[in-house]
């Protein structure tokens, strides 16, 4: 299939002088689990709203399965959305919420309720139909929102930070379930998140947004291990983007370089081993590892030391080292 599920051609959305989305080009294949990752205000949610039709681009063209979406209202697009706040209708019970799309389409009550029961089973909430949304927990509401969005059998499902309001354990469980569900249904998922772990663990491909532009697009491993710009290195991997004078010293012609915190090792300054000189600023115990914040002549850097390594004291002088293959070089203006 060579028609893309969703394609952006030079799409911009400006609000006055603010460029929320700025000349974005993008192509999402059918059946792909695609993540839009970026800090808040980076334009990822606006892109999602442009696909859903809640907002119109200032310039450029968006096609869904090859069809131009210009002037097509949301209710005429076969894409459905799972909202960040779930947006369940408080005056309807769960079953009527899930069956809403079918009710609008004019399906008789008995049939749509039967289908809605099926959708609730799909999201592991059988028998919850009689309850009001206010009687459900956050995780259950999220599943209802998912069932409601899936009942119209969309070809593209848009998810706007759907796991943002859940606690850590539930998030991890839902991440797995969403991924399984996407495999099972085979429809295109477009997932907006500011959580890099979520994007990397779930998506087939990730687009990293910053200031309304896509700064890198690729497989999770590429984005994680081979960032093309310092922003991606910093935001996606929490990598240490090295100061220019250090880069100049170790790799002349490159302008930027990064090294992952787990690749950094610390050596006692007294041992006379060659390396960069640093002062320990603070340490934080994370369970499986300890995060050490370092100060390199006013430039901060983070090392992640595995269990069993000696953890230096705050204020201690150390030498910072890494293997040459862990140094990632970027050539960008």
């Amino acid at each position: 299939m060579n028609t893309a599920a969703v394609r952006f051609k030079g799409v911009s959305r400006h609000y006055g002088s603010v460029r929320a989305v700025d000349e974005v080009d993008l192509s999402i294949a059918e059946g792909e689990f695609f993540a839009m990752l970026g800090p808040s205000g980076s334009g990822k949610t606006t892109c999602l709203r442009l696909i859903a039709g809640f907002d119109q681009p200032t310039a450029g063209e968006i096609t869904i399965f090859g069809e131009d979406t210009r002037g097509v209202p949301p209710y005429k697009r076969h894409v459905n959305t799972v909202f960040q706040d779930y947006a369940l209708f408080p005056h309807m019970n769960v079953l009527d919420n899930v069956a809403y799309g079918l009710m609008i389409a004019g399906m008789p009550k008995a049939e749509r309720h039967k289908r809605a029961e099926g959708a609730l089973e799909l999201v592991a909430l059988p028998g919850f139909g009689g309850r009001k949304p206010s009687e459900l927990s956050g995780g259950q509401r999220q599943r209802v929102a998912l069932a409601r969005a899936l009942i119209n059998e969309p070809r593209v499902l848009l998810l706007d930070e759907p796991l943002g309001a859940l606690d850590l354990k539930l998030r991890e469980q839902m991440q797995q379930e969403l991924k399984d569900l996407q495999r099972k249904l085979g429809i295109t998922f477009i997932f907006v998140t500011h959580d890099q772990g979520e994007a990397l663990s779930m998506a087939d491909r990730v687009a990293v947004f910053n200031d309304g532009k896509i700064v890198q697009i690729g497989k999770p491993e590429d984005v994680y291990y081979r960032p093309e710009v310092p922003f991606v290195a910093d935001f996606v991997g929490s990598s240490n983007v090295l100061p220019p004078h250090v880069v100049e010293k170790i790799a002349g012609k490159w302008t930027h370089a990064s090294v992952r915190p787990e690749a950094v090792s610390l050596v006692d300054a007294g041992l006379g081993v060659d390396g960069l000189h640093a002062t320990v600023h603070s340490t934080a115990f994370l369970g499986t590892a300890t995060r050490v914040s370092l100060d390199l002549d006013g430039f901060s850097m983070v090392a992640l030391l595995p269990k069993g390594t000696r953890i230096p004291e705050t204020g201690e002088q150390v030498h910072v080292k890494w293997s040459p293959e862990d140094l990632h070089l970027m050539d960008t203006a």
């Binding site: 005056h91 409601r148 969005a149």
Partner: protein, 313 residues
């Protein structure tokens, strides 16, 4: 720095009172609620029961004195054709004013809740509240001038060569009359104007609580704007519409000044109450008339509740 973390010694004066109140939250609630509860309980409910009691007495037709004996005779009088006419007229007027007010208020409230921000929101509040700043009587008399035969509305119709239209309308029985200022339509327009803010504000408050994502979700699931209005926006705004209609409906039911200044000589409940308790000295019948709006409102709220109007609260 102080030696102790806790200030354990008791302090006197106002701080001492604060300490006592802090330790007894129930006392605080009691102190806050007692005055209004007394006010409502004695002054308001008391007078309501006195009214109710009066309506079960009757008046001696020969002596004109009140007979303090329980009877339903006075209520029976409400159903004589002349009196029942007054009730029907008032209820129809109140219902028309309420429906018209809801239709006009909804778009205004929707604009204010969804689109107005900052300066525009302030302008909205001033626009809605401004009529409430001036005297009710002055507003009603200004409307009389607007609607009168020599008034600006008549002039406007003449200038546009549409006098025939106005005259045709005024020749319709019941709602027409010699001029707008002495027609039932005139009474309706003034009622509508005077009570409109009481409809706009509750609807605006209820619409403000509907998150935009709720409407987007409806559209996302295939609902056209009309369907979204019917299945999502209206049900969620209904408590506000009901609250507003309680104001417009009950205020119209009880008003006796507007129909006296603008409109026909046919009476409304308020005017009947005023006349019977005053010049006629028939307090029992006045009381029975006054009970009618209370019964109608209770019935209205009961129906609204049964129809699920408050489900979204």
């Amino acid at each position: 720095m102080s030696e102790h973390v806790l200030e354990t010694e008791r302090s006197g004066g106002l701080r001492g009172i604060s300490d006592v109140l802090w330790r007894n939250p129930r006392l605080v609630i009691f102190l806050l609620l007692a005055p209004p509860a007394l006010w409502l309980g004695i002054v308001y409910l008391g007078s309501l029961f006195a009214l109710l009691a009066q309506s079960f007495y009757s008046i001696d037709e020969f002596s004109g004195l009140i007979q303090y004996e329980f009877t339903l005779k006075t209520y029976g009088e409400l159903f004589t054709p002349a009196n029942f006419d007054i009730i029907v007229r008032t209820v129809v007027m109140s219902a028309s004013v309420t429906i018209a007010a809801a239709i006009i208020a909804f778009p205004i409230a929707y604009f204010a809740a969804r689109y107005a921000k900052g300066k525009w929101k302030a302008l909205f509040y001033i626009g809605v509240m401004l009529p409430l700043w001036s005297s009710y009587l002055v507003k009603v008399y200004s409307w009389k001038l607007i609607l009168a035969k020599e008034g600006i509305l008549n002039w406007l119709f003449e200038t546009l060569h549409l006098s025939w239209l106005l005259n045709a309308y005024l020749s319709i029985p019941v709602i027409g009359g010699n001029s707008l200022s002495v027609s039932a339509t005139g009474t309706f327009l003034v009622f509508l104007y005077v009570w409109l803010p009481f409809m706009v504000l509750p609807i605006q408050a209820s619409l403000e609580r509907v998150p935009p994502s709720m409407l987007e979700a409806s559209g996302d699931l295939g609902a056209s704007p009309q369907q979204t209005f019917r299945h999502v926006l209206l049900p969620l705004a209904l408590p506000g519409v009901i609250a507003g209609s309680i104001f417009t409906f009950s205020l119209t039911l009880g008003d006796y000044i507007i129909p006296q200044i603008v409109g026909t000589s046919r009476r409304f409940i308020g005017q009947a109450v005023y006349a019977y308790q005053g010049t006629a000295g028939n307090i029992p019948l006045a009381a029975a008339f006054a009970v009618v709006p209370i019964v109608i409102m209770a019935f209205y709220l009961w129906v609204a509740k049964r129809k699920g109007a408050f489900d979204a609260l």
